[in-house]
């Protein structure tokens, strides 16, 4: 029971943070601080330089040291404030933020990137498009994969060959050129919402072939099991057999595939962004953030840039965790 509550809290909390990034993020995802590029995570203090304790945590000003590093300057102290209203640059509007420090102080709790943008805010804002698109794509790929794979396994014969040859075609083709061609036919500017559906659609539609083969393999043996044969003998319809007898046997496989596909699809966005099909700068997405990490110098010199990896781990682990819990509950109820 404790596990369940923990899972639910984690699940809901994570999704709130990702769906409403504006609540938690101290800055906008595209807000540049050109004088603070690649600043390491800002340290939050309770004790000041003189050793005095402050109930309200604070940060010190950070100053560039000249050799691409930063140091803290104890001369200025900026207390962390909660529920602050800050101005949004270049628009004249104000926005409520969960926490922040007064300008000119900066708080980068996960450090900053090549443009001096707050990585924490970018991870939060990036999650919305990436997680949603990866989930939708996973759902699409698994839906198509399950239906086609099960159909191939259950019906056999010509259906099987046709579907399997189609999946092989899907795996063999050089998608790269297809995607290039797709990009060439699309308009230059793609709105964020269109980007989202494009990502989900492209990844989902190209990603069904492997799950389909896996599921077909399992369905092949599943349909030969005694209770399936007897159900057929009793004249059960094919769809009934699929829903009541086959699908439950496929479920663990589908869950496992989902856990594998979600992070893979988040990373697929890296390639799509390269082709101009993903979210492009300055929009944040986990794919873009992971793409930054693929550079030697970022990996060795700016360790905080690995944060997006842990965001992806957190999300996919949460899904796995929840899936486990539900499965166990369903089983315990059944027994």
């Amino acid at each position: 029971m404790k596990r369940l509550y923990f899972g639910i809290v984690l699940f809901v909390g994570l999704h709130c943070a990702i769906l409403f990034p504006g609540l938690l993020a101290p800055y906008g995802p595209a807000e540049q601080n050109r004088e603070y590029t690649f600043a390491p995570p800002t340290r939050v203090h309770w004790f000041d330089a003189g050793g005095r304790f402050h109930l309200r945590p604070f940060v010190y000003a950070i100053v560039p040291t000249g050799d691409e590093g930063y140091s803290e300057s104890t001369s200025a102290r900026y207390p962390v404030r909660f529920f602050v209203s800050v101005a949004v640059p270049n628009s004249g509007q104000r926005k409520l933020r969960f926490f922040g420090v007064d300008a000119p102080g900066r708080i980068f709790i996960l450090g900053s990137d090549a443009y001096g943008r707050d990585l924490f805010s970018r991870v939060l804002y990036g999650g919305r498009i990436s997680v949603a698109a990866a989930l939708l794509a996973t759902f699409l790929a698994l839906l198509i994969g399950t239906l086609l794979g099960a159909a191939a396994g259950l019906r056999g014969g010509l259906t099987d060959s046709a579907i399997m040859r189609l999946s092989e075609l899907g795996m063999a083709l050089s998608w790269f050129y297809l995607l290039l061609a797709v990009r060439a036919f699309l308009p230059l500017r793609i709105a964020p919402l269109e980007t989202f559906f494009l990502l989900a659609g492209v990844i989902g539609v190209t990603g069904w072939a492997r799950p389909a083969r896996l599921i077909r393999g399992l369905a092949l043996s599943a349909k030969e099991r005694g209770f399936v044969m007897s159900a057929r003998g009793f004249g059960a319809s094919e769809f009934y057999i699929f829903r009541r007898h086959i699908l439950p046997q496929l479920k663990p496989l589908i869950f496992t595939q989902a856990v594998i596909l979600i992070p893979q699809f988040i990373m697929a966005e890296v390639t799509l962004s390269f082709l101009g099909l993903g979210a492009s700068e300055p929009v944040a997405s986990w794919g873009n953030l992971l793409a930054d990490l693929q550079q030697y110098r970022i990996l060795v010199a700016y360790w905080w840039m690995v944060a997006p990896v842990f965001a992806v781990v957190l999300v996919s682990s949460t899904y796995f965790f929840m899936a486990n819990i539900f499965e166990r509950r369903v089983q315990s109820v059944a027994i």
């Binding site: 050109r34 090549a114 500017r189 390269f274 700068e281 300055p282």
Partner: protein, 641 residues
């Protein structure tokens, strides 16, 4: 003495090495020569079994062997011959021996100097071939190479070159005027499709070459041509005896690809091909007949071998250099500077920022005449792009210093004109370098009829919001950064800019073929520190007249003026006059902003501290231009790697 290095070690290890040479490398001739010289003939009778036992003696011996092997196996420099017209480099010293390892980003595609178009191929080909007149990469001025002297006739159309006497190709065959005539016949042949042919065609007509005597050739130019001697740089002189039959059979495209046996490839450069291993490396060895010597009358090059290893990408190239697997890293990106700099002391190498390169990056608006029914939005937006004040406002709003600082991590220079400061002889120092000014940009926009709506967005005189996209190649990280920075800069003017990174060839296709783009960030690399390579960019009917291709007549008055000036500078031989004309071109470009110049990256190179005579230059091929003079310091050779 090249051999002294290895034989300073114990006799025992020497013997082991000697035996191995016979069994493994098969270079028996060299081996015998070595033996004779040192009269260690008893090695011949050394039993193979014992030799194999020796193999296990120690790993250290093996490493020593690895270092020393090339020294023995490589061809020895021939002593200077009488009647050989050697160029002696005053003040140059060094010692023989060793293999210099250079990491390349990708694999060369061909060894055919006439057809090679990619940078890695040219990097290798440049080391195995020589040209008639060479541009010294350091001084950026021409100097004698295979031609020891040259003379231009008073009408500027006949160019006579005296060739060096007694020279040999790397396979030992003599070189004379017939080779030169043959070479230019190949370059000028339309059927060969040399990418360098266009350099030799002046004003639409090709130059002609005639042999005067065995060591004199004459070039007839169709019209006077400024800097005529610069054309000859990097035009490799080909051995007629090896290539003529293939050329006459129309098979020139197939000669000297990577699978050609090294014995069939010869050139006049400091090195010759020894071995190619697909996907891994290409090894060059000393050309024993090379025509340069140092101040001690020792024939160059110093190095026994040069090995180019193919790293795969820039990060791999950087890591291999950092791990000391390669001796030289020839140009790397600004992003990697700080990583390499941090390890400099510990790892005993040094990296250098040589200052700005010739490449210029710019923002270009699509000013092509496009059909209104196909691109309705673009045609509407072109009303802004064509407005000089709009372009000036954009230029004024761009924070070029931030581009240098963020996109190039400080290793670059801001540009306000088409010539980079690297082009010492031609850059117009008097061009203004206005500071970024949003107020000035706003004034310009206001005077051009733009205004701002209640949300702070910029709108044009038809109340349409000003919004456009910038495409750029996604594999070029600095350019994507420039676009992102510019988008942020312009958002402060109320302009919405979408950054659209595309795969590189998709960008080129849009810019040059479909014209389906609004604005683009792209760069052009200067081939030479001279105005002539940029002719096709600024001439209104030039093939690289990027903002408005296929202009039949100059679209604007100033473009007509640039046309006149560019054509005039091409035939002006006097440097000062030519310089004045070209300064005016630079001013016109800076005033009329057909493209908005942004920045140029610095040339960054590195070498191990034991590489001697390392004098990299900002012109291609950067650190390797004096490969014949580079040497590995003796103590480095003696100690194990």
């Amino acid at each position: 003495m090249p051999y002294s290095v290895i034989f300073t070690n114990s006799i025992f290890t020497t013997e082991t090495r000697g035996q191995l040479l016979i069994s493994k490398s098969g270079n028996f001739e060299t081996y015998k020569r070595v033996l004779k010289r040192f009269s260690i003939t008893r090695l011949r009778n050394f039993p193979i079994t014992k030799c194999l036992l020796c193999l296990r003696v120690s790993v250290v011996n093996w490493i020593l062997f690895c270092v020393a092997l090339p020294v023995v196996a490589a061809s020895a420099a021939q002593p200077l011959q009488k009647g050989e017209d050697i160029q002696v480099e005053p003040g140059l010293t060094g010692n023989y021996g060793g293999t210099l390892v250079v990491g390349q980003r990708s694999e060369p595609k061909t060894l055919n100097p006439v057809l090679a178009a990619d940078a890695p191929s040219r990097e290798v080909i440049g080391r195995i071939n020589a040209d008639l007149i060479h541009i010294n990469r350091y001084t950026q001025k021409t100097e004698p190479a295979l031609a020891s002297s040259w003379k231009m006739s008073s009408d500027g159309r006949t160019f006579t070159l005296k060739l060096r006497r007694g020279l040999r190709f790397s396979d030992g065959q003599p070189f004379d005027a017939d080779d030169v005539v043959f070479t230019f016949q190949v370059y000028l042949d339309e059927k060969v499709h040399s990418t360098q042919r266009d350099l030799l065609v002046i004003g639409g007509r090709p130059m002609t070459v005639t042999k005067v005597d065995a060591h004199t050739v004459r070039f007839e130019l169709p019209q006077p041509y400024a800097a005529a001697e610069r054309i000859f740089d990097s035009l490799a002189i080909l051995p007629r005896h090896l290539l003529q039959s293939a050329y006459e059979q129309g098979k020139f495209a197939e000669v000297w690809n990577l699978n050609t046996p090294p014995s069939q490839i010869a050139g006049l450069g400091p090195f010759r091909v020894k071995q190619y291993v697909a996907g891994q490396r290409i090894v060059l060895e000393r050309n024993p007949y090379y025509w340069k010597a140092d101040s001690n009358k020792q024939r160059l090059p110093y190095l026994d071998e040069m090995a180019f290893i193919f790293a795969g990408n820039e990060d791999a190239q950087v890591m291999r250099f950092e791990a000391r697997e390669t001796d030289i890293i020839n140009r790397f990106g600004p992003d990697n500077y700080s990583v390499l700099a941090k390890e400099q002391q510990d790892r005993d190498y040094q990296i250098q920022d040589l200052g700005p390169s010739l490449e210029f990056n710019f923002l270009v608006f699509n000013l092509n005449d496009v059909p209104a029914d196909k691109f309705p939005d673009l045609v509407r937006e072109q009303a802004w792009f064509r407005d000089l004040k709009f372009r000036q406002a954009v230029s004024a709003a761009i924070d070029r210093q931030a581009i240098v600082r963020l996109a190039y991590r400080g290793h670059g220079a801001a540009l306000w004109g088409n010539e980079s400061p690297a082009d010492k002889l031609w850059v117009d120092q008097s061009l203004p370098h206005p500071e970024r000014s949003l107020d000035h940009a706003r004034e310009l926009l206001k005077s051009a009829g733009f205004s701002w709506n209640s949300d702070g967005k910029l709108i044009d005189n038809q109340q349409k919001p000003v919004e456009f996209s910038i495409i750029t190649g996604s594999s070029n990280a600095p350019r994507v950064k420039m676009a992102t920075l510019i988008a942020d800069d312009l958002s402060q003017l109320g302009i919405t800019v979408h950054v659209v990174p595309l795969e590189f060839r998709a960008v080129v296709d849009r810019v040059f073929q479909s014209n389906n783009y609004e604005a683009c960030i792209i760069g052009l690399g200067g081939a030479d520190a001279d105005p002539n390579p940029q002719m096709n960019v600024w001439l209104s009917n030039g093939g690289t007249h990027i903002w408005n291709l296929h202009e039949i007549h100059p679209a604007t008055a100033w473009e007509a003026e640039v046309d006149g000036l560019m054509n005039q500078q091409m035939v002006t031989v006097n440097y000062k006059q030519r310089r004045r004309i070209y300064d005016r071109v630079q001013q016109l470009l800076a005033e009329n902003l057909p493209v908005i110049f942004l920045a140029t990256p610095d040339v960054l190179v590195g070498a191990k501290n034991n590489v001697g005579n390392f004098r990299p230059a900002v012109l291609d091929p950067y650190a390797l231009w004096n490969a014949d003079e580079l040497y590995l310091r003796r103590q480095a050779l003696a100690s194990a790697r």
